[in-house]
């Protein structure tokens, strides 16, 4: 299966290891992965701040960059929701471009969604390098994809050595919201502290997210508050299990 990675601007700059984890795990599950280098940003910040014309120009570019991709997979729930919820309506007055957008949207998947809906992977048989206690923060924008946190938790629980514990107020936004975190930093700060406090209560070593924005926000608050857990993208955990299991098989 041929997959093109949409890594997103945030992951490109701040979390190359998340991008690589997506590449390596998709390859492990039998995909051939390519990375179209002309990609930039989906336009979500512009759209959400009331600049649809600017978002539209970026959507045109995205659709063009990925025009021959079979599947487009992204580690970011919110970027995928931007594409799926808004790309078609952005071209309401341009039937040709709208058709291209519809075709593009139909090929776009968030990482966990792709693993569970298209690849229908099973993680049993994969083992983590060492036992780890996880909790899961529900990335709000998965709502826009009609998704719940259930598939990600199911995958996590399948990993050998993974212990799962429920996060209180798991579905309460961490307070990222793009420019919201800067413009309304007092409110956003109160929200992310709440998230970290709930994380601490779980006793987990790792909080799993599937969005780069949540990871930056909760991770940054964890560091400031010296919380005893770290924030990781689910792809990083799966990649660690893939690598460990492959290594164990070789030896």
């Amino acid at each position: 299966m041929k997959v093109s990675l949409f890594v997103t601007c945030l992951t490109d700059l701040f979390a190359p290891d998340v991008g690589m984890a997506v590449v390596k795990t998709l390859e492990h599950f039998g995909c051939s992965v390519d990375f179209p280098t002309a990609q930039t940003c989906c336009g979500q910040p512009a759209f959400n701040n009331g600049f649809p014309a600017e978002a539209r120009a970026l959507a045109v570019k995205m659709i063009d960059v990925f025009h021959d991709a079979d599947y487009i997979v992204t580690p970011s729930g919110s970027c995928c929701a931007m594409i799926r919820d808004h790309y078609i309506e952005l071209f309401h007055d341009d039937p040709d471009q709208r058709k291209l957008a519809e075709d593009f949207v139909a090929r776009c998947y968030e990482y966990v969604e792709f693993l569970t809906k298209i690849l229908k992977v099973d993680m049993t048989g994969l083992t983590l390098p060492k036992d780890e206690k996880f909790t899961y923060h529900f990335t709000c924008h998965l709502r826009g994809l009609g998704a719940t946190g259930e598939p990600a938790i199911r995958l996590l629980k399948q990993l050998g050595g993974a212990q799962f514990t429920e996060l209180e107020k798991s579905e309460q936004c961490c307070g990222f919201g793009g420019t919201f975190a800067i413009k309304y930093s007092d409110i956003s700060g109160a929200m992310v502290r709440d998230k970290v406090e709930c994380g601490v209560k779980t006793g987990a070593q790792t909080m799993i997210v599937n969005d780069g924005g949540c990871a930056m926000n909760i991770g940054g608050a964890c560091h400031r508050m010296e919380a005893p857990f770290r924030v990781r993208h689910i792809a990083q955990v799966i990649a660690a299990a893939v690598e460990h299991t492959a290594g164990a098989n070789v030896s």
């Binding site: 190359p16 910040p45 919201f180 309304y184 409110i187 930056m216 926000n217």
Partner: protein, 490 residues
């Protein structure tokens, strides 16, 4: 601090909704640091939100029911003139009187006139958000008529000269001790913070005053056009007292509250209490059709229904019609992570929370409430909770777009977004931007990989949390190396 109301660029206009706290940023700053408020809200609204979820999960197809409720509301709003006329005819048929008020001042005048004509001195009120919208109590007092709130929460607020901070749970911002002090002052009795004792004090006092009241005022949860009935959903029973005991009953409703027929009512009754509080039904559901008929022994002698526009027709005519579907259940407030951190007061006006962030600018003008459309992380919890499927996040984005188009968005922000998106259209400028950000951020980052203080305009981020320093190499570089090593391996 009334800058947002009186800035020279936005001439003060008559506002449809009263504004109690115009300075959003100051209110937000104070409330977001108030741990007591957060704990109180978690203990109430967050719990109610979980109650909503579990009670809706008991229904065979809650999502289908929400869709149906939204569709009924949409249909009614699309034919609002027809249904309002039908309602009017049927109310009159049952001996009631109907008035249309274009503004909140007109609505208040109508009620004051009815009170004066009927010689009413004491008016008992059942909880009504729309009367908060009109500031009816002030108008009655100005005319020498005594209004008395009989919903426990509203009563506390009235005697404390405060305003509701939640649509359904008006006094959520006060704890038992604070209420105890309010009653200590008002009743001049020894202090207690025992909720049962406090409720009993109010009950005994109110019970006595119900008997003295000349007129009862209620809101309207639903008005049924086909039967000429109004429906009241309450938990305390005070609504029933207000609408049966006094000689005169006046009901005040926003014009969007009408539904076509009695058959539509169960759809909303199934959703309203579940969405508001997780109850299957409110304790009291009253369907009131007209006043006392000849030969009957009780009930009010007169029934008056006031149907108010106050800016709704303008919203109805525009692109925000769906916002008028709102049945004021408060589910979006309970689900909202922002509301849970800032409380209702921060929203400044009568309707707080996500629906208020939408309605207040629509009623009062975007220029008067610049922050409300933006103070949302667009997490979508409100849309998920809404029993009539108002897509609040989409509408907030639309309001932001309107702000850009109306020139309310500041010039620097417009320039930043235009430059930013232009930069992202080209590979070279994207790369240049990423490199510049990396160099800048790596120069201010600590050895541990975190930035403690970002420069303006991003300083707000690091006021509350650290910012990750970008690694030395971006994804593209790492990916290229990975492929190169694979190539060499072959």
């Amino acid at each position: 601090m009334t800058s947002t109301l009186e800035s020279p660029s936005s001439p003060k206009r008559r506002m449809s909704l009263p504004v109690f706290h115009p300075d959003f940023m100051t209110e937000a700053h104070t409330a977001s640091a108030d741990a007591g408020l957060h704990a109180a809200l978690d203990n109430s609204v967050t719990k109610k939100d979980y109650g909503r979820r579990s009670s809706l999960a008991e229904l065979p197809d809650a999502d289908g029911l929400r869709q149906l409720a939204g569709d009924i509301k949409r249909h009614t709003l699309d034919h609002l003139d027809y249904y309002l006329e039908l309602l009017e005819r049927n109310i009159i048929k049952h001996g009631g009187k109907v008035y249309f008020a274009a503004t909140r001042e007109q609505a208040n005048d109508l009620i004051v006139n009815i009170a004066q004509r009927t010689g009413s001195k004491l008016v008992v009120k059942s909880k009504s958000m729309v009367s908060e919208e009109t500031e009816l109590n002030d108008a009655l007092i100005a005319a020498g008529i005594e209004p008395l709130e009989t919903d426990l929460g509203e009563f506390i607020l009235q005697v404390d000269h405060d305003h509701p901070t939640h649509i359904v749970m008006p006094v959520i911002h006060k704890n038992a001790a604070e209420i105890g002090r309010v009653f200590e002052r008002y009743f001049k009795t020894p202090f207690t913070d025992n909720p049962q004792e406090l409720a009993e004090m109010a009950r005994v006092y109110l019970r006595n005053r119900f008997n003295q009241a000349d007129m009862g005022i209620s809101g309207v949860n639903f008005a049924i056009a086909e039967t000429g009935s109004i429906v009241l959903c309450t938990n305390e029973g005070n609504g029933r007292m207000c609408t049966t005991r006094p000689r005169i009953h006046v009901a005040l409703m926003g014009m969007e509250k009408v539904i076509p027929s009695l058959d539509d009512l169960p759809v909303f009754l199934k959703l309203l209490a579940r969405s508001a509080s997780g109850q299957a039904l409110t304790q009291y559901t009253n369907i009131i059709t007209g006043c006392r008929r000849p030969g009957e022994h009780d009930g009010p002698e007169e029934f008056h229904l006031i149907i108010m526009d106050n800016g709704r027709a303008k919203i109805l005519a525009g692109e925000y019609r769906d916002t008028l579907r709102c049945i004021r259940c408060g589910a979006c407030l309970n689900a909202c992570p922002i509301y849970r951190k800032v409380g209702g007061r921060t929203y400044g006006s009568v309707y707080p929370g996500p629906i208020g962030a939408l309605l207040t600018p629509l009623f009062n003008g975007l220029e008067n409430h610049k922050h409300l459309p933006h103070a949302s992380s667009l997490c979508g919890a409100c849309f998920e909770a809404c029993p009539v499927k108002i897509n609040i996040p989409e509408f907030l984005i639309k309001l932001r777009k309107d702000q850009v188009e109306q020139g309310i968005t500041t010039a620097p922000e417009r320039i930043i977004f235009k430059l930013w998106s232009w930069g992202l259209r080209h590979g070279w400028s994207y790369r240049l931007g990423q490199i510049a950000q990396r160099v800048m951020m790596r120069s201010i980052g600590n050895k541990d990989g975190w930035i403690k203080k970002l420069p303006p305009p991003a300083q707000g981020w690091t006021a509350h949390r650290d910012f990750p320093m970008p690694p030395k190499h971006d994804f593209r570089y790492v990916y290229k190396q990975y492929r190169a090593i694979q190539q060499r391996g072959k």
